[in-house]
Symmetry: C2
Subunit: 260 residues, 2 copies
Amino acid sequence: MITGSDARHPLSGADECIACHSRFCQFQDPARRQSRTDLISLNRGDRLVASAQACLKIWTIIQGTAAICRTFEDGRRQIISLETIGETTCGLLAAPESDTWLEALDDCVICEQDFSSYAGALRENPSFILSIFRVTHKQLETASRHVATLGRLDSTERVILFLAEMVVRTKGRCVSDSAVTLPMSREDIADYLGLNTETVSRIMSRLKKSGLVRFFSPTEYAVPDFAAIERRLPVAVLRRANSMAGLAQAGCNSIRETAG
Amino acid sequence: MITGSDARHPLSGADECIACHSRFCQFQDPARRQSRTDLISLNRGDRLVASAQACLKIWTIIQGTAAICRTFEDGRRQIISLETIGETTCGLLAAPESDTWLEALDDCVICEQDFSSYAGALRENPSFILSIFRVTHKQLETASRHVATLGRLDSTERVILFLAEMVVRTKGRCVSDSAVTLPMSREDIADYLGLNTETVSRIMSRLKKSGLVRFFSPTEYAVPDFAAIERRLPVAVLRRANSMAGLAQAGCNSIRETAG
DNA sequence: CGTCTGTTTGAGCACATTCAAAAATTGTGG
DNA sequence: CCACAATTTTTGAATGTGCTCAAACAGACG
């Protein structure tokens, strides 16, 4: 059970969730009872399908790491975004027949809030709509960056960026010496970065030899010198993460701020 | 002047726009006067910066083709999405310091609706928020697909997909014999597809030789057999486009439908 | 201890890029 | 309307990156 009060979470500021007693997953819901709420346990590989019916289901990750996935008809898989503890998503990427789903990359606990029965009333509720707007908007910002990453960074830059972002994501900020645990396989990383498994592995071996990254096991690593990592990238990872957090917290302008 | 009444446009159903007399750019605005509206002419290469201040500016393309662009610090450029006549976007991709902007790929006319002065009131207006939600949601769906395209399709597939989508985009549906005009240079196409100029040109030459695509000039082409094109791709372009249109028109579920 | 799964490493190949130059197109001024 | 300049597109040759196929290695689990 998570009881923290992460003020940067876009949906924070409410009571405890009635299912998981977390403040992470209390979706903006003034009446506090306009949703059916459940806890869902997923094993690695399990999926939640983002169908038209799921559009009004809000999923918040309570434990573990999940991914929004997409496939082509021949089975090629691409991970669109990673969702970790405290992050919120929903069935929004949901053209009826699109091959999109939420997949657990390791064992997950997810809080599902189903607003379907209250759709009519919620359409008239500005703070509810503002909340799903903010979820969607953050996903758009993330997806937009990922487009640029896949379109314009080479394989080494993608892997370095990934490792750097996982440091920032787990620490909240850069702490150079303590270890980060990767919650996903090399294949998942490859599917996220638009590479293949062997390439990811090869690049990580090279980074290890170069000393830029220290690996304790295939899934545990540390970054001795974060600035050195950033010098290898054409983006300032840390600054960008802070601006995202600030954006979620204060709202970058008036429309994004949560009503009272 | 555009006077058509394209029911599939997400913001349709309103009066004529007071600036351009189009029904395309009438953003959901029940009071009808809560925005300052202007027509903006852009020459090829001109930019509208998507800053924090621009978040409440809604841009609808009246003429021409524009792109949402992003750059890295070393100048590498990636086009995130293309916006053509009737499509709506805004400064939403707008972390304060992010290098994101809207750029005219050819000469454009854009209708700008500035809601900044009415932000307070509009936050309480569910149908306004629902409208910006729908704009953002559609952009998310598009960006998500583009991630999969860049991550998992090879260069030939990307170019074929691009040409096929430009057919669908300009026709509304597939009409095999009449010509499509590309509104952008090879470099722009390359920046959109995460390739380089020469590669795009080479692939198009190969497609021309193979007979899959008929080029009348560098910017004019036709697709003699759309089904043959689709057989080269792991996605059904036409079906997907129809589902997008349906999604925008009817709403894929209750929350997406526009309030009366 | 053996099996299964996931990771690493190697060799060879294909694809996309880089650098360079030619060809085609567009725009301008006479 | 033509000639010339500037830009864009196309083509070529060589290089390098990332992929495929294959095998070895490591760790988890029965």
